[in-house]
C-alpha cells in the first residue's frame, strides 16, 4: 500500500491571548497523496492559513500547535528515508526541510519579496541554503527556474528589484523560489487572490503544469470555489477551524454532503439564477466560546437536538448515509467521502 505523502491527524492549533485561548485549527485530519492536487477551501478566518503554517511549524506567537501529528513520508520509495512526524523534529531539522521538501508561496506577492534585494539575490539565497553549487551553476539554475515559471528574458530579471515587477511577475518569482529545492509538496496560500483575473488563470495554469512536470503534490488554499473547480482533484472544506467535508472535486460540486458545503454551492452566482443570491444566515461562531455539538448548528437548516448536544466526528459516508463502521478507512483516503455531520446529504 502506498503511503500518503502527508498525513495530518487530529491537528489542534490554539492562539493563547489575554482574552483566553481559542482553537484556530480544531481537530483537522486530512491526507495528501503523492502527486495529488488538493484544494483547501473555506471562508476568511476558518483556519486555512493557520493549517498551512502549522504544517511548516511557522505559526507565530501567540499561536501554538497543541495536539496532533503531521506524518511526512518522503516521496521516493527506494530511499530509506523514514516516515517522520513533523511536530517532533528538532528546529534545525525542520528548518532544513522547509523550502527543500515542503515549500510555500503566499497571497501577497507585493510584500512577500524583500524590497531591498534584487530578484537574483533572493532566489540565490534559497539555492544557497539547500544545495552546494558554484556561482555559475547557481546562475544557470536560476535562469532555468525563471524560464520554467514562464518569465521571458530571465537573465535581465535577475538584476531587477521587486518594486520594478508586476504582481504576476512577482508571484512567478515566488514560485521559482519555492521550486529551488524541488519540493515534494508545494503549499500555495491564496496564490491568485491578489492578482487580476487573467493573471490569476495564468498562475493557476502554471502551478498545474509545474505539478505535472515535477510530480510534486500541491496544496492549494483558497476561498474561491471557481479556482478549486478548475485546478484540483480533491477538496477539503473547512469551517470554523474544522474540516467539514472531504471529497473529490467532481463529487463535491455535483453532490455536496455537508450542509455548509451545500449552502456554499447555493451562494455561487450562475447565469440561471439572476435574482438575489442565497446567503448563509447567521455568523461564524466566535472561536472564544464555541457551542457544544456541531459548530454549524446555528446556521444549519436541518439542525436537530443531537447536533446541539454532541460534536460530530469526521466520518466516511456513502450515498448520503454513514458507511458501515466495519469498512471505515482513514479520514482523507483518496477514494473516500468524508463529512462531519449527523445528517449529510439531502435527508
Amino acid at each position: 500500500m502506498t503511503q500518503p505523502l502527508l498525513d495530518v491527524q487530529h491537528l489542534h492549533t490554539a492562539f493563547i491571548t489575554s482574552d483566553g485561548s481559542f482553537l484556530a485549527v480544531n481537530d483537522v485530519c486530512f491526507k495528501i497523496n503523492r502527486g495529488e492536487l488538493v484544494g483547501l477551501v473555506g471562508e476568511s478566518g476558518c483556519g486555512k492559513s493557520v493549517t498551512a503554517l502549522s504544517i511548516l511549524r511557522l505559526v507565530s506567537e501567540p499561536g501554538k500547535i497543541i495536539k496532533g501529528s503531521i506524518l511526512y513520508h518522503p516521496r521516493h520509495d527506494n530511499t530509506d528515508e523514514p516516515t517522520v512526524n513533523l511536530l517532533q523534529l528538532s528546529k534545525e531539522e525542520m528548518r532544513r526541510l522547509r523550502g527543500h521538501k515542503i515549500a510555500m508561496i503566499f497571497q501577497e506577492p507585493m510584500t512577500s519579496l524583500n524590497p531591498v534585494f534584487t530578484v537574483g539575490n533572493q532566489i540565490e539565497e534559497s539555492l544557497k541554503l539547500h544545495q552546494k553549487m558554484s556561482r555559475a551553476e547557481r546562475r544557470d539554475k536560476m535562469i532555468e527556474l525563471l524560464q520554467r515559471v514562464g518569465i521571458p528574458d530571465a537573465p535581465k530579471l535577475l538584476k531587477r528589484y521587486p518594486h520594478e515587477l508586476s504582481g504576476g511577475m512577482r508571484q512567478r518569482v515566488m514560485i521559482a523560489m519555492a521550486l529551488c529545492g524541488s519540493p515534494d509538496l508545494l503549499i500555495a496560500d491564496e496564490p491568485s487572490t491578489a492578482l487580476d483575473v487573467t493573471i490569476q488563470a495564468q498562475v493557476l495554469d502554471l502551478l498545474k503544469s509545474l505539478q505535472e512536470q515535477t510530480g510534486m503534490s500541491l496544496l492549494l488554499i483558497t476561498h474561491d470555489l471557481g479556482v478549486i473547480a478548475e485546478t484540483v482533484t480533491k477538496v477539503i472544506v473547512m469551517y470554523a477551524g474544522q474540516v467539514v467535508e472531504i471529497a473529490s472535486c467532481q463529487e463535491l460540486f455535483s453532490n455536496p454532503q455537508h450542509p455548509y458545503t451545500r449552502a456554499l454551492m447555493k451562494s455561487i452566482p450562475t447565469f440561471e439564477k439572476r435574482d438575489r443570491l442565497e446567503t448563509i444566515p447567521g455568523n461564524v461562531p466566535r472561536l472564544h466560546q464555541l457551542p457544544e455539538g456541531c459548530l454549524f448548528q446555528d446556521r444549519c437548516p436541518k439542525a436537530k437536538e443531537k447536533c446541539r448536544q454532541q460534536k460530530p466526528e469526521l466520518e466516511e459516508i456513502r450515498e448520503g448515509r454513514w458507511a458501515p463502521s466495519t469498512e471505515r478507512r482513514d479520514p482523507g483516503a483518496p477514494e473516500g467521502r468524508w463529512a462531519r455531520c449527523y445528517y449529510p446529504g439531502d435527508s
Binding site: 522547509r98 503566499f106 531591498v116
Partner: protein, 318 residues
C-alpha cells in the same frame, strides 16, 4: 529617489560639502600643515619626507638642515602642530600665521587641522561602537519580543535616566583621560537611541510577509535577522548616526575643554579652546577659530542628518 530628494535640499548639500571638506582636511592633515617639505630636491636626489614619515614613522633618510639646501615644496601651512617657537608668542592673524599663534608660539591653523583628525576619529569610532551595540540590542528586543524585549527595554530606560555627560566624566576620572577611552565611553553610553529605533523597525518587519517567506525557504534565525531584516531597517539608523557624529564631536570638545579629553601636546579643538581661556582678553583668535570650527562641523553634520531624514521619510515633506 532618496538621492534626488537629498540633492534638492540646498542646506543639506552645503552641509555635505563641508563634511567632505572636513574629511579631506583630516585625512590630508600631514600634507596641509607640516614643518617638513612635501618634496625636496637635494644633491641630485628626490625626497618625499612626509610620505616617508607616514610609511616609515620617521624622517631618517631625509638630509638634515633642510632649510639650507635644494629646491623644496612646503605644505600650505609650513608649521607642525607641536612645533614650539618662543620667538613668536601670541601673534595675531598675519601673513605668516594665518590664524595667529598660541602662547607657546604654535600655529593655530596647524593645530586646528590636526584637531580635525581627533574630532573625526572620535565621531566615527564612538558612533560605530554604539551603532553596533544599539543594533544588537534593538534587534533582539524587536524580533524576539516577550521577556527579551521587556528586559532590554527596561535596560534602555535605565540607561536613558543617567545624565550621560556626567557619567562619561566620572568614568574618565577612573580610567584616565585618553582619546580611546573617550571613544569607548561615548560608545557604551549612547546606544539607547539607536536601540529604540532598531527595536521599532524590527517590530514592524518581523510579521511582514517577506520574513515569513524567508522562513518557509528555510533561512535560519541569525541569517534572517542580519541578511533579511537588518538591511530594511538601516535607513533611520543612518539618520540617527549622522546626528550622533555631531553629538560625539561636541562631547569630545567639551571633555577636552574640561581637561578630561585629549592630552597635550596632541591638538584637539576643545583643548585649544581650553588653553585660550587664560588669554581671552588679549588673543581673541585663540577662542574664535576653534569655536568656529566646532560650530561649523556640528552644524554641517546636523544639516546632513536633517536632509537625510527628510529625504527618507516622505511624510515629513512640507
Amino acid at each position: 529617489m532618496v538621492g534626488r530628494q537629498f540633492r534638492r535640499n540646498r542646506l543639506a548639500m552645503a552641509g555635505i560639502i563641508f563634511v567632505i571638506f572636513f574629511f579631506a582636511t583630516a585625512l590630508l592633515a600631514p600634507f596641509l600643515a607640516n614643518d617638513k617639505p612635501i618634496y625636496l630636491y637635494h644633491e641630485g636626489k628626490h625626497y618625499f619626507p612626509i610620505v616617508h614619515q607616514i610609511t616609515h614613522g620617521h624622517f631618517s633618510s631625509t638630509p638634515h638642515n633642510l632649510k639650507a639646501y635644494g629646491w623644496r615644496l612646503m605644505p600650505p601651512v609650513p608649521y607642525s602642530p607641536t612645533e614650539y617657537d618662543l620667538s613668536s608668542l601670541l601673534i595675531p592673524p598675519s601673513k605668516n600665521h594665518w590664524l595667529g599663534t598660541d602662547d607657546q608660539g604654535r600655529d593655530v591653523l596647524a593645530r586646528l587641522i590636526y584637531g580635525s583628525q581627533v574630532s573625526l576619529s572620535v565621531g566615527f569610532i564612538a558612533v560605530s561602537i554604539y551603532v553596533i551595540i544599539g543594533l544588537f540590542f534593538g534587534a533582539m528586543a524587536g524580533y524576539f519580543g516577550g521577556m527579551t524585549d521587556l528586559i532590554i527595554s527596561r535596560l534602555i530606560e535605565i540607561m536613558i535616566c543617567f545624565p550621560t555627560f556626567f557619567l562619561i566624566l566620572t568614568v574618565l576620572a577612573f580610567v584616565g583621560p585618553s582619546i580611546y577611552n573617550i571613544m569607548i565611553v561615548i560608545g557604551i553610553t549612547s546606544w539607547t537611541g539607536i536601540a529604540r529605533l532598531t527595536r521599532g523597525e524590527f517590530l514592524k518587519f518581523r510579521h511582514q510577509d517577506f520574513v515569513l517567506a524567508a522562513k518557509t525557504v528555510g533561512v535560519s534565525t541569525p541569517r534572517l535577522l542580519i541578511k533579511h531584516i537588518l538591511p530594511n531597517s538601516l535607513a533611520p539608523v543612518f539618520v540617527s548616526a549622522t546626528f550622533g557624529v555631531a553629538a560625539a564631536i561636541l562631547v569630545e570638545s567639551s571633555l577636552s575643554f574640561l581637561g578630561f579629553g585629549v592630552q597635550p601636546p596632541t591638538a584637539s579643538w576643545g583643548e585649544i579652546l581650553s588653553q585660550s581661556r587664560d588669554f581671552m582678553d588679549i588673543a581673541w583668535w585663540l577662542t574664535l577659530f576653534p569655536g568656529l570650527a566646532i560650530f561649523l562641523t556640528i552644524t554641517a553634520y546636523n544639516l546632513v542628518g536633517e536632509g537625510l531624514r527628510d529625504a527618507i521619510d516622505p511624510k515629513l515633506k512640507i
